[in-house]
């Protein structure tokens, strides 16, 4: 059984989808969290100078989506055939744009610009995104096929992040997406992890 070691900061951030997938599949791993002060020493030892990284089978992977997809494969959560896997990839990739906008908004130092970005997200980007994704999810509450996959888990994590920044019932009138969230929360491994995971600011 290979040992998995995930290294990230003490935050949910870009590592949380990976942690959720390990939890969903019941796969044991070392959840290493480093302090900001320790980062400069570690940085040159990473493949591309950033986190998260996953050490497995004597090699080190970076790029959170590449790691998540790899863990999903090991966990049997990628989709049943190549077409389902392609759909899964497409739906995960489609989330990157809105995530980028959220991060830009969070990092914006100019208060006026920040408010503008916030308004753009809450009034335009987010509603459009959720409409599209309501159509991509099926009435059973799965994005791909008829069982939990890494897309559902990734979506769940994104919505949790959105809710932290934009409180509100964004999924009102979107029954498919509401079911996706319920399906992910109902996974025993994920339910346990969400209860037990370390508290962090983001």
């Amino acid at each position: 059984m290979p040992a998995y070691k995930l290294t990230y900061f003490n935050a949910r951030g870009r590592a949380e989808p990976i942690r959720l997938l390990f939890a969903a599949a019941g796969i044991k791993y070392e959840d290493a969290r480093i302090e900001g002060a320790d980062w400069p020493a570690l940085k040159p030892k990473t493949p591309m100078g950033y986190l998260p990284i996953l050490e497995v089978d004597g090699t080190t992977l970076c790029e959170s989506t590449a790691i998540a997809r790899f863990v999903a494969k090991r966990a049997g959560l990628v989709g049943k055939d190549d077409l389902q896997q392609a759909k899964a990839d497409m739906i995960v990739d489609g989330m990157k744009d809105i995530l980028k906008k959220l991060i830009l908004m969070v990092l914006e130092k100019d208060e006026i610009k920040k408010e503008e970005l916030k308004t753009d997200i809450s009034e335009k980007t987010l509603p459009e995104f959720l409409s599209k994704y309501e159509n991509l999810a099926n009435p059973s509450g799965f994005f791909v096929g008829d069982s939990l996959s890494w897309v559902d888990v990734t979506f769940y994590n994104l919505i949790e992040r959105v809710r932290a920044m934009f409180p509100g019932d964004h999924l009102k009138g979107k029954p498919n997406l509401v079911k996706v969230m319920a399906n992910v929360k109902a996974n025993p491994g994920i339910a346990k992890w969400v209860k037990e995971r370390p508290e962090s600011a983001f």
Binding site: T65, F70, A86
Partner: protein, 201 residues
């Protein structure tokens, strides 16, 4: 044998990696190129309002990397093990930011801003990226393991765009130069490079 129909604009852009992978795998497909005038009508029929899209087995897939990964799998170019595949994914994802900055530079309409961006890209962005990837490429000319994968082809495609603006970018990078040579010699790719429509970008 499933029918594959790729729809994109008449440019290389975000469609070319997919076309190169079909070519490498010698997989026949319909290479549909639409005019900008026809786009507004097609847009609402796509899953996320964007192209390229790939129609296969009654499904429509969007997101160029998702499509590329799917075609790479069909062509046997994904990587042999899950770990190899993850490594290929990681190398591809690692190039995306650089690709975006290059795109921004090319699309910049203001001439003096463009010159500034070009200088910044050529002097600050590109060299560390190539130095990093020279280390990732093995001295046998493959990024993953000991055989061709889609990460080699993706790197070739990216440099195809970049060397149009920076012709000597790969000077001195032995491993990266080998990767390019090997990709160009893949029979399906050699044929495609000779026959593909010439487009500005």
């Amino acid at each position: 044998m499933p029918a594959y129909k790729l729809t994109y604009f008449n440019v290389r852009g975000r469609g070319e990696l997919i076309r190169l992978l079909f070519a490498a795998g010698e997989i026949p497909y319909e290479d549909v190129r639409i005019e900008s005038d026809n786009w507004p009508e097609l847009k609402p029929k796509t899953p996320m309002g964007q192209v390229p899209i790939l129609e296969v087995d009654g499904e429509v897939i969007c997101q160029s990397m998702a499509i590329a990964r799917f075609v790479a799998r069909e062509a046997g170019l994904l990587g042999k093990t899950h770990l190899d595949q993850a490594r290929a994914d990681m190398l591809l994802d690692g190039g995306i930011d650089v690709g975006k900055l290059f795109e921004e530079m090319v699309m910049e309409k203001d001439a003096s801003k463009k010159a500034e961006k070009k200088k910044e890209f050529g002097e600050k962005t590109l060299p560390p990226f190539l130095a990093l990837y020279e280390g990732f490429a093995g001295d046998n000319g493959y990024f993953v393991g000991y055989s061709l994968t889609w990460s080699d082809i993706a790197f070739f495609n990216m440099m195809d765009f970049i060397t149009a603006e920076f012709p000597s970018a790969l000077d001195g990078y032995c491993n990266l130069t080998k990767v390019i040579k090997i990709v160009k010699r893949v029979p399906g790719i050699a044929k495609w490079l000779k026959e593909r429509p010439i487009t500005d970008n």
